[in-house]
């Protein structure tokens, strides 16, 4: 991975030299205008097998959602030509008869078709058993990232990654995942030998690896839930206890955030948490603006400004 990164960087550097834009960059820096670049992150959570829009039955959500409309929306955003990431924070399964009948096959195929880049697992993804989830992964083209479930000697053992690194445009993005405690929430026979580990410890350890691998942005896909009235571990608690993570894409609590929540992490840096309800009723978008700075003066803690994107 490091070597590939080196080659990619070298190639970028060479092409930069060839195109003689080095002078231009230097000029920009000299004028104090930092070089900017953009990354678009699209995200969903708790879609719960909602492949078709909600039925037209007079209910609040009638006509909303559905993979066919979501796919068009994703395509139109991709046509803006920013590097785009598409992520999901779990509970892909359970909630419509599609799941009862097909155990997640059309959900997985639809997400692959839409071009999801990475997902994490929610508690309901165990609902037809861990072996079923592992089997359904034959239909996907994206990794399942989770760093706090020990899947040794389970059907998931060779079917997940603790993290993934994706190069999108200029950015090298590290993506990890954390899952909720399964005991008491999911029947034991469904999750089998899966061992839940402390998500804060696992997330920080994994984020440190991603930092060492020189990721520009580190994203944690989380199915912990945004926050609770007691001290149960949540995105809020993780955010405050975290290091190196820039963004938590959350789920489980089905909350529609009006805007991302900003917390101060263990190093005094900014970390954002966002969540997009459930059922694919909404899709979240975060446009990250990056400044290019010298690696050796790069601060350990990032500070970001949040604003609402104007609706074109």
């Amino acid at each position: 991975m490091n070597r590939r990164h080196f080659i990619k960087q070298t190639a970028l550097a060479s092409s930069a030299v060839m195109a003689s834009t080095v002078a231009g960059t230097a000029l920009l820096s000299a004028q104090g205008i930092p070089e900017q670049s953009l990354l678009t992150i699209l995200h969903t959570n708790d879609v719960h097998s909602r492949l078709d829009p909600f039925p037209m039955d007079g209910s609040r959500n009638q006509g909303l959602g559905g993979v066919a409309a979501r796919s068009s929306l994703i395509q139109s955003i991709r046509e803006e030509n920013n590097p785009t990431l598409l992520l999901d924070a779990g509970d892909i399964f359970q909630g419509t008869p599609y799941f009862n009948l097909y155990k997640g096959e059309p959900e997985m195929k639809a997400m692959s078709k839409m071009g999801y880049d990475a997902v994490t697992m929610g508690n309901h993804d165990f609902d037809a058993g861990i072996e079923n989830f592992a089997n359904q992964l034959q239909h996907v083209s994206f990794p399942v990232v989770i760093s706090n479930y020990d899947f040794a000697s389970t059907p998931m053992e060779y079917n997940y990654k603790p993290y993934t690194i994706i190069q999108k445009g200029k950015q090298r993005i590290g993506i990890l995942g954390v899952g909720i405690e399964l005991e008491g929430l999911v029947p034991k026979n469904l999750y089998g030998n899966t061992v839940y580990k402390d998500p804060i410890v696992a997330a920080n350890e994994t984020a440190e690896i991603l930092r060492q691998k020189k990721c520009d942005l580190i994203i944690c896909l989380s199915h912990l839930g945004d926050k609770y009235s007691d001290n149960k571990v949540s995105d809020e608690i993780l955010a405050k206890e975290s290091r190196n993570i820039d963004l938590i894409i959350g789920g489980h609590t089905h909350r529609f955030f009006d805007q991302p929540r900003k917390y101060t992490n263990k190093d005094g840096g900014d970390i954002l948490v966002n969540q997009m309800g459930w059922g694919g009723i909404q899709m979240g978008r975060l446009d990250y603006n990056f400044s290019s700075i010298k690696r050796k003066i790069s601060p350990k803690a990032h500070t970001v400004v949040i604003m609402r994107k104007p609706n074109e």
Partner: protein
């Protein structure tokens, strides 16, 4: 050439050594409604088609019949009574334990069932949530606290044989399974996992463990309706003064 290439590599290494990194500075956010106004992607429609044909066939499956339209109502409704009775009966069958009382949270009833045939699809509309049917052993005093919460909330469905009156937003004259509530007795209660975990502000239930067999309330409803139909009866549910309001609130 060789010298030139060493020079060139050296130059690149120099560039890398004082290499740059991308630092996030600014984030703009937006939530897109996935609305029916967006044109559907035909590739996805085609992908779904073989699955949705079969799903629709299943959803249109008739599993029962009701002579009256069943709608949710406060403080008590036939529909709510039907659901609470289903939970008590199916929990008894599934867990093999004598269930004293079942609770159905009012907010968990999501649709009416119109008179006529009942389809699997109707049950999905009635209970779209993936709530599990769970058992909890609760002291009478905890049930009283739950009943008070239910009374303050305007009344939730409870199973046959149990009743209470709402007076000044409190539960009075509580009867559990035919007998007055004993605060020191232990009762076996059927609930959704959502409520058993303190959902719908039922925080008093949260400290108590529950038994869970991964059995969805929706599946319990489907099985219960099928059992009624198999016995040659229609699905019928009546108001039986299980939850009454003794003053105007």
């Amino acid at each position: 050439m060789r010298i030139l290439s060493i020079f060139y590599s050296g130059f690149i290494l120099l560039l890398l050594a004082c290499g740059t990194t991308q630092v996030p500075k600014q984030v703009s956010y937006l939530g897109y409604p996935v609305s029916p106004k967006i044109k559907a992607d035909t590739a996805l429609i085609n992908l779904l088609q073989p699955y949705s044909m079969e799903v629709n066939r299943t959803m249109n499956n008739v599993i029962g019949f009701t002579p009256t339209t069943m709608t949710k109502r406060l403080p008590e409704s036939g529909l709510g009574n039907f659901m609470a009775d289903c939970m008590k009966e199916m929990a008894t069958q599934k867990f093999g334990l004598p269930v004293d009382i079942a609770f159905m949270n009012q907010g968990g009833i999501r649709a009416s069932i119109n008179k006529g045939n009942i389809t699997i699809g109707n049950v999905y509309e009635l209970m779209p949530f993936d709530n599990l049917l769970v058992l909890q052993e609760l002291k009478g005093s905890v049930i009283e606290a739950l009943m008070n919460h239910i009374a303050a909330d305007g009344g939730w469905p409870i199973s046959k044989g149990s009743s209470f009156k709402i007076k000044n937003k409190q539960a009075v004259d509580i009867i559990i399974n035919g007998k007055p509530l004993d605060r020191n007795a232990t009762y076996i209660t059927a609930n959704s996992d959502y409520i058993a975990q303190g959902g719908s502000d039922a925080a008093m239930l949260k400290p108590f463990p529950f038994q869970n067999k991964g059995y969805l309330i929706r599946d319990a409803l489907i099985e219960y309706i099928k059992q009624i139909t198999a016995s040659g009866k229609p699905v019928d549910a009546k108001i039986e003064n299980r939850v009454t309001s003794s003053n105007n609130e």
